[in-house]
């Protein structure tokens, strides 16, 4: 999509904000912490505005713009300094970058602030590749992984290329590509609840194509998709009586930190 082209990337900054997303805060905090660790290792100070909650996308995509606006409005004021805002989710980054301006279209001051904020919102992998110049060795045992890129990461942030580049940059990681890699996993936020049958059919196909690659792990930079895919695979394991998950998943931040010798505190 044209949304993804011609982005200007700043030089590596001394400070960044972290917008961690509601899913990471509540359900996958390790991914957030590993994001901080990855950035700090590069000598970047990471600021986490404690007042952050959620970008508002759940309500926005469910057709409740007033509710989305109310929540989004709270996030707008949290990043006053001109530092980049790093988001370990392509979907939430895209919400701020591409949808905040139209969400606040009726309030010019806020719309302008949203546009300004959007200009310095970066999905984690694009930030690591284009701003940080991430380069680390993974001196651990070889592994085979598959990457799932969320649709918003791919089509609104263009970060499928940077996630891929990060994984390809690890010498001991073999990245395999599943069939229909560009196709939606069936999550779609509240879609998974509203249309469980269609969502299940999509998740089923996604898991099947991931399993067919023989990858031992699925990596994604978006928790929503990851929960959907891994949760679906785990349910299959449960039904088949498998004690261990046959298709585990990991957030890209955690995977990178773990593979490149990052310490666990």
């Amino acid at each position: 999509m044209s949304n993804t082209s011609h982005r200007h990337y700043p030089a590596k900054p001394g400070d960044v904000y972290l917008f961690a997303t509601c899913l990471v805060d509540q359900f996958a905090p390790e991914a957030g912490l590993d994001t901080v660790r990855l950035l700090e290792r590069e000598g970047i100070r990471v600021h986490f505005p404690e007042a952050q909650t959620c970008c508002g996308q759940p309500a926005y995509s469910s057709g409740y713009p007033d509710e989305a606006r109310a929540v989004a409005r709270q996030q707008l004021d949290l990043f006053p300094r001109p530092w980049p805002v790093v988001v370990p989710s392509g979907s939430c980054a895209a919400m701020i970058r591409h949808h905040y301006p139209s969400l606040f279209a009726d309030e010019p001051t806020l719309a302008e602030r949203a546009r300004e904020l959007g200009e310095r919102v970066f999905e984690l992998s694009e930030f690591l590749v284009h701003v940080v110049g991430f380069q680390h060795n993974d001196a651990v045992e070889p592994c085979t992984v598959a990457l799932h890129t969320s649709c918003h990461a791919r089509r609104e942030m263009g970060s499928h290329t940077t996630s891929t580049a990060l994984l390809r940059g690890l010498p001991n990681v073999k990245l395999v590509e599943q069939a229909h890699a560009e196709e939606c996993c069936g999550f779609g936020g509240t879609f998974a609840i509203r249309h469980p049958d269609i969502s299940e059919a999509m998740a089923d196909d996604k898991v099947q194509s991931l399993r067919a690659t023989g990858a031992g792990l699925v990596v994604s930079a978006d928790c929503g998709c990851l929960f959907n895919i891994v949760g679906h695979a785990a349910k299959q394991d449960e039904r088949a009586g498998n004690a261990k998950p046959t298709l585990p998943g990991e957030h890209l931040a955690t995977f990178l930190w773990r593979r490149t010798g990052g310490e666990r505190s």
Partner: protein, 476 residues
Amino acid sequence: MSQTVHFHSAKEFADRTRAAVGNPAHRRSFRGAMDFLQAKRAAQFPDPQAFENLRTLGEAIRRYSLAHLPDLLERLEARLTANGFHVHWAETAEDANAIALDIARRIEARHVIKGKSMVSEEVGFNHAMEAAGIEALESDMGEYIVQLAGETPSHIIMPAIHKTKQEIATLFAERIPGVDYTEDVDELIRIGRQVLRRKFLAADIGLSGVNFAVAETGTLCLVENEGNGRMCTTVPRIHIAITGIEKVVEKLEHVPPLYSLLTRSATGQAVTTYLNLISGPRRSGELDGPEEVHLILVDNGRSRAYADEQMRATLQCIRCGACMNHCPVYARIGGHAYGTTYPGPIGAIVSPHLLGLESTYPLAFASTLCGACGEVCPVRIPIPELLVRLRNEAQALPTANAPVRGRGAARRMLPSAVWRGWAFVYGHLKTYRLVSWLLSRGRALSPANQGAWTASRTPLVPAPKRLRDLLKEHSR
């Protein structure tokens, strides 16, 4: 009877989708067809930048045409009339059928042979003719097959995409006298050709759609591969073309880029076998062609969509079907589950304007907003944004003169309250802190049954500590 919607509630739609995804043969057949069409389209646009440049031009042409729509329609009418066409205006589906019936009655027509026309499906043309005792027979091979089976198209470009050749072989053997069962596709097509050739000769009226109507020259452009469109517009005494008011372009030079985008996006062809440019009925000295050509310009809700700046983009559509070919939801449920003339993403954004949100709002929600449709749209219709807008409209407070009929049709007390509660929690830091803390600390109490989520997934369980807790420890 005019427009047809085959479901009337979200539940009925859900039932239809459940049945569709639960049918493995159906799923395989659509998956195969979608993969085929996606690969063919991709081969036509090997260079992403060249595609972007061409679609920028396509989008510009469509937006320019719409910006001047009333003027262009008047110019088109004047030019067509000067060329010897009869131009009719239809506000509703009923109007469109009444105009066609008037023409048919005047010449005591018994048989109408039809080329492919989605607008004729939209207005329920066949039913209207049959009700008046006039046969309306489809001649596009896919449409003919679908009609023979008593069904409706499941795709706007490939109407019989849901049928296997075995099903078609059985259908032909059962419904066409003197035909034996054969799965040989060439033979099946030969049979269709033979049957339909007699029908072209027998028809009093040929009906067609229009892909582009050119105002400056008074020309109707028809795009096709089979030649049945040419038959319909040439053999019968009278040719009636029916089209939506949005199909007009100003100049002939606007056609080549749109034509190229259309064929490459639709079926992955660099070009179709025929482009048929009709600028008048048979003139003196000519030996064939219709004596009369009529154009029915159909509004049917389009002018209402036009009035809204954002939803006007819906009218940019050139009906290529690429959005459905790339839609992961369409690939799972197929065209019929949508229950509307236009299925898939384009159907979800067009149908509410034709039929109102009351019966069509579930379509707007039947999308993950993955953006595949918007990415391939050759005229850059922001389909995901329009889906979100329709969701908003469906759940907004009903108002008079809403930009789309049936505003508020999906508004329900419970979900509205849930989302207000959600906004309260995530919009108030103290509440969020408390609620998220409670969820973390009470994670052992997380329900194993999380409704639709756990129907096919393991439950979501909050982490023992939130990120904000971990970061406090981390910075110490």
